[in-house]
Each structure stands twice: as structure tokens, then as C-alpha cells.
Amino acid sequence: MDAFLQGLALVFNFQTLLVIAAAAVFGVFVGAVPGLTATMAVALLVPITFYMDPTPAIAAIVTTSAMAIFAGDIPGTYLNIPGTPASAAYVGESHQLARQGRARETLGTNLICSMFGGLFGTLILVFVSPSLAEVALQFSSYEYFWLALLGLSCSIFISIGSKTKAFLSLLVGLLLSTVGLDMMSGAPRFTFGIPDLMAGVNFIPVMIGMFALNELMGFYGSRNEGRQVTAMHKDKVFTQVPRHLRRYWRNLLRGSSIGTLIGALPGAGADIAAWISYAMGKSRSKNRDAYGTGHIEGIVDASSANNSGISGAWVPALVFGIPGDSITAIVIGVLYMKGMNPGPTIFMEGGGLIYALFIVFFIANLIMLPIGYVAIRSAKVFILTPRKILMPIILCFCIVGAFAINNTITDVWIMLITGFGAFILARNDFPMAPAILGLVLGTTLENNFMSSMLKSNGDLLSFFSRPISAGLGIMVILIWLLPLLLRLYRHYRGTSRDHSARTP
């Protein structure tokens, strides 16, 4: 109780509340401008949070990401261009509705669903993570090794598009993670005599490069500035919302649960949560034919899923230090910088910080309502902001941000080089999330493997000697074998069908 009151005091002060309000506006802006993603917003925010106390720093990140994911629906509805990848799943649907003159109604529903999804995910975070942490206290290097491996495997398995490319992208991340002083042997690797590289590749500049610089270059590579708002109607924002919610409350709950779960899976974030729950909603709907013609049902599923995914991703990040998506990958870095080392002990150390974090989540999702409403009313401003002016400003932020974290020019170079590399990879449809996860989890994977080996004198079977460890190990191996099993299954079914066709 005492810690809870301390948490309240940490949140309800002028500075933190001001930061939350500013972050909400920033989040709406970034989300609503097509081409700027929520991850990019958070990456750009990190150097600024560096100068804040832990609570406002985390509040800024939570609020920005939640708002950006909602606001991504705004240009999706008006322009048929998703503001963030998380809105891509249902952008066609909501644009259809906008063409029918129901743009504000759609966005109003989106807003309420997003808020509900976010709060749902937060409740899961608040109630599940402390008990999960109790379990995690029993985890030794064996379990963490499997968890890291599980995270990396998931990031490939759940990625959209070519699995081979996702795997190669992961290897790039793992390679970057080997740079620096190896903790186990005490030997420097790939440092080329640069003292700054002894610390390894700092992943905040890498994130800025991969997500911000990469997209900047993508913008100048494509040039699609000629945007026009085709459907601008002045219908009521919230009038129809209760009706939709009454009708589709099951979709709301299902979307939120799926979203939280997928968010909690390492490597899969809000965008994948939206795709999957949209598909799930469609397959279980009675009006499947109405999908694609401006049907709000799928939007309820997906827009609650992407926001609950944002909250869900924090569960493994806080409890195990394993990021659930690319935003929490950044968050883990910030938590370390703020002395809140992610892991089960974060729930043991007093000071009310963890309660402050939970409270911040609630506020961030509640503040979505007023600020989101204003954003819907003034959507035109965000959509028509000329990106020609924005992009150079963002470039400045990228460079200053990369420098500010360690005050070293090496990080600026890292940012520029990885940004360029990521641009080439992204142009060839390599997903970025596995690379980031590889960089963040590579050291965890390696160090836990090495220390397990040291502890057991090189006995590989020791990875299966503890019950939880064995369970996790079997899970990982099953995930690896799944594609093979699926193929076998299909092959078997295919041949048996052929067989039956041939027999008269």
C-alpha cells in the first residue's frame, strides 16, 4: 500500500502530468503523419527521456506509443494510407466507411476500441506480471537461455513474408550483438581499436538508424507527396459508438485478448496483432461478405488488438527483460539507463516505481479519449502537414539523438551506417524486427549459454535438467519443427486425397 501511494505521488505531480500531455500530442502527431511509425516516435524520444526522472521518462514512452497506434487510424481512414503499420490491416475497410461519409463515426469507434484494448492489456500487465515474476525468480541461466531462444524463434516464425529473410535479418542483429568486450572471456571482439566499441554496439542509435533514418530515406526514394483528402465529412464522432459496441462486444474482447497475447510474444507487435485478429474476426463473422465494403466489425477487432498489443508487450519486457515488440526493445534500454533493471527483481525493489508504471499505463490510455477526440476533429492538420518540411527536422533529431545518449560521435556513425544498411534491407523486404531482437537478445543468449556451460562443465543435457528449463526447451524445439510437421501433415493429407480420388 505504501509503495502504491509512493507510485501515485510519482505520477501525480506537475512534471509527469505535463510530460504525459505533451507525449500524447507528440504521439498523435507522429501516428497521424503517414510514414512516421510508433517505434520511430519512441526511438526519437529516448534522448529526451534521458534528461528526465524515471517515471516521466517511462510515461512519455507509454503515452507516445499508445497514442501513435491510435492516431495511425486517422490517415488510414481519410487517405487510405496507414499512419503506422499497425493500422495497415484494416485501412481499406475504414477508408470505405469514410467514402460513405462515416469517417468520424469510424474514428470514434476506433478511439473507444483502442482505449478499451489498451486498458485491457494494462489490466493483464498489472495482474499477470507480478505473479509471473514470482515464477521468474526461480529462473537461472538455463531458463533465460531458452527464453531468449524462444523469443528469437518467435520473431521469425510470426513474421510476415519470407521466413528466410526474417532469419537472415536476425543473423545481422546477432552479428552486431557480438561486438564489444565479451563478458565471459574478457576479450574484446570486433572493436577495431575503437574504445567506444568496447561497450558493444549501442542499440539506441541502431534503432534510430533502422526505424527513423531508414524511413526518411524511404520517403525520399518514393516521393508520393500529392495527397488529397477525398472524403471529409462532418458526421458525429461518438453517437454511433454505443450501438457498434453493443453489437460487437465479443469482437472487442476477442481482439483485446488476441492483441495482448501476440503483443506478449517476443518479436510480434501491434501490427501483427492487428493482422491476426482482423483475420480471426473475419473467419468467425456471420457477415463475412460485408468485409471489405466498409464493415465496422473487423475494425473493432483489429483496433482493439493493436492497442492491447502495446500493453501486452510490456509483460515479458518487465518480467524477463525480453522485449515483446520493437518498442519495448527500446524500453529495455531506457529502463537500464534509469537503473530499473528489467527482470523479476523490478517487482521486489520498493520505491513505488512499478506502481507508478502501472498508473501511467492507465492514464495514458484514458487521456487517449480527450486528445484523440480533438485529433479526430482536427484531422486535416496532421494529414496535410507537408512531409518535405518534417523530414529534415527529423533527420536533425536523429543525429542529435544518437549523439546525446553517450556524447560520442561513434554513435552517430553507428546510426548512419545501420540506417543505410537497414534501408537496403528494407527495400528488399527484409523485416527489421528480427534484427533488433537479435541485437537486444544476442548478448543474453550468448552469456546465458556460456554461463550454463561453465556451471555444468560443458554438459549440454543440463539444459533439460531443470523442469521449467526442460519445458521451455521442448517448446522451442517444437516451434522449430512446426513448419516441418505442417508440411508433412499437408503432404500426407494431399497424398491421401489423391489416393481417394484415384480409387473409384
Partner: protein
């Protein structure tokens, strides 16, 4: 045309000269001072640095900024301190690692690359074990480790060749055992090692006692002894090694403020006075007592001597552990 160039050149030279002569003492400090910390924000060293910086601000009347340059087991930050301009505006919180890293071939930097100003803290190594673990007290631990075959037990708390590794290896040698009788499992620091200890993956964490505080207070770990001359005020139930097994072995991690080599003696004197007042301030002493961190003062001269002594001592341990390069 040429004349104008000359004029510009002249003006430029003048400006250059004034800047060069700028830091000329008299009014030192006349701009904010930066303290580089080679360890991550939020850790014990960082908190110590931020507190002493705050206390120094009150003395000097200038802003004292703390900048973290982390990584590479402290190499990155220590290099940044040594490479800074010795004008008194960039200082660093130098830690005991400077006495260890060069023996292991991680860096060419030694304590001779710094201008010592003052030592402000000393944390002695402790011996932490899991609350439900096999050891009752230090005597029991030493006996069991001696009787069981080499490599039966393991310990963790820093990277390979880090301060607690060397401190514990030194302790084993003091007890007449080989330094690697207990297998060292490198870790990113004392905090993850304490988590592993509670999870049963590690047997011993020889970090300073305050670093194990949250696990000790949660009842998941015990501290058996401290390698110090007397008990800590903040942990009065933890005996010294002397009390537990009658050895006078003492070792730990020192922290002090130093600048790059070649600082002006007058600037050093000003800083030394300011640091002394800051060290004695309620801000600093109150914080350190609250955290349970040890306080120990040495002025510039004694600090230099300490660094030289510890360098020799750690050099020997590094060699005996077999990490010397």
C-alpha cells in the same frame, strides 16, 4: 585584400591566445564541470557520483554535470577521462578497475594516466549465499569448499577479472586454496548474480553487501561475512572475516575523483578542498549511510599512494589467477 586577411589572422590569433590562456586558474571554476562515470546510470557508482556532484555544486557555486560513459567493463569511461583536456573542467569518478584492467591487457591505461584528487568511498567485498543454500557460516563454507573437489561450487558477481572475482580469488588464496577452486561464472554485475543466487544457479556472490541488499531484505540471501576491518553500520549482523575465521584478509573496491594527467596543482588544490567539504556534507554522508555504502576519505597524496598499492596487489592476484597478459 592581403591586409584584411592579416587582420583576420591577427584577430584569430588573439582569440586563440585568450582561449588558451582562458582557464588560467585565478577564477577556477568559471564554467560548469563535467564528471564522467564509467558505469551505468542507476547503479551504485553512478548514485555516488551524482551525490558528490550535488555536494560539490554547493561548494564550488558552479554546475557539476554527471555523464555516464558505460561499457567494456569500465574501459570506455576510464579512457574518456584520461583523454579529456586537463583543464579541470572534465573530471571522472575513477574506480578500482583501473588497477586491474591493464594487467589483463584490456587497456594501456594505468593509474599513472590520471591526476588523483581524492578518494571518497571504499566498499569491502562480502560473501553472500542463498538463504536456503548449503552454507551456515563462513567457517562452514571454507571447510566445505576445501573438502569438496575443485569446481564443485561456483561464484559470480562481475565479469572475468572484475573486482569481486579478484577479491574472492584472493580470499581463496589467503585460505591456502588455489584461486580457481570455486569456478567463476562471469556476470554483468552483482544484481543479476544475486538473482541467479536466489534462483539456485550460483552458490556464492562475493560482491559488496549493499549490492545484495534487496535479496537479503527479501529473505532470499544471507551475507556470511565482510572482508573489512570492522562491521558495517548498515549491516551490523554481518561479521568480519576476522571475527568469522580469524583471517585479516581485507579487500574491496575504491572510488575516487580524478582528472586527466597533467592538471594544474592549484586547480587540484581547489578541487580537493571542495571535495573535502562535499565529502563531509550531510548530503553525501546521509546518502551513503542510507545506501549502506562505505565512506573513506583520502586526499590527493594518499589517494595516489592507495592506487599504487592496490595496483601492485591486484597485479599479483591477476597473475596468480592466470588472467595476466
Amino acid at each position: 585584400m592581403l591586409k584584411r586577411h592579416n587582420k583576420a589572422l591577427l584577430a584569430g590569433t588573439a582569440v586563440l591566445l585568450t582561449t588558451l590562456a582562458g582557464p588560467a586558474l585565478a577564477d577556477y571554476p568559471e564554467k560548469p564541470i563535467t564528471i564522467i562515470v564509467p558505469w551505468a546510470a542507476g547503479g551504485g557508482t553512478d548514485a555516488t557520483a551524482r551525490t558528490i556532484a550535488k555536494a560539490m555544486e554547493e561548494q564550488l557555486g558552479e554546475t557539476v554535470n554527471v555523464v555516464n560513459r558505460t561499457g567494456g567493463s569500465g574501459v570506455v569511461g576510464h579512457s574518456a577521462i584520461a583523454r579529456a583536456t586537463p583543464d579541470g573542467y572534465t573530471l571522472g569518478l575513477v574506480t578500482g578497475e583501473i588497477n586491474m584492467m591493464h594487467w589483463q591487457g584490456l587497456t594501456d591505461l594505468t593509474y599513472r594516466d590520471y591526476t588523483p584528487i581524492a578518494q571518497i568511498n571504499y566498499d569491502y567485498a562480502g560473501v553472500q549465499v542463498a538463504a536456503d543454500g548449503p552454507f551456515d557460516d563462513l567457517k562452514d563454507l571454507v571447510k566445505t569448499v576445501r573438502e569438496q573437489p575443485k569446481g564443485t561450487y561456483n561464484a559470480s558477481g562481475t565479469g572475468q577479472g572484475g573486482v569481486w572475482h579478484l577479491a574472492f580469488a584472493g580470499f581463496l588464496m589467503d585460505q591456502g586454496m588455489e584461486p580457481d577452486r570455486v569456478t567463476w561464472i562471469p556476470s554483468q554485475g552483482a544484481a543479476p548474480a544475486m538473482t541467479e543466487l536466489a534462483a539456485g544457479g550460483i552458490d556464492i556472490v562475493p560482491s559488496s553487501v549493499p549490492e545484495g541488499r534487496s535479496m537479503i531484505e527479501a529473505g532470499r540471501a544471507d551475507s556470511l561475512a565482510i572482508m573489512a576491518p570492522e562491521r558495517l553500520d548498515s549491516f551490523p549482523n554481518v561479521p568480519t572475516v576476522q571475527e568469522a575465521i580469524g583471517s585479516d584478509y581485507q579487500i574491496g573496491e575504491w572510488r575516487g575523483i580524478a582528472g586527466p594527467k597533467g592538471m594544474d596543482p592549484e586547480v587540484v588544490a581547489t578541487l580537493e578542498d571542495a571535495l573535502k567539504a562535499a565529502y563531509n556534507s550531510d548530503t553525501y554522508q546521509g546518502f551513503m549511510a542510507k545506501q549502506g555504502f562505505g565512506t573513506e576519505w583520502r586526499n590527493a597524496e594518499d589517494f595516489a599512494q592507495l592506487m599504487a598499492d592496490m595496483d601492485e596487489r591486484f597485479g599479483k592476484i591477476v597473475e596468480q589467477v592466470g588472467l595476466a597478459k
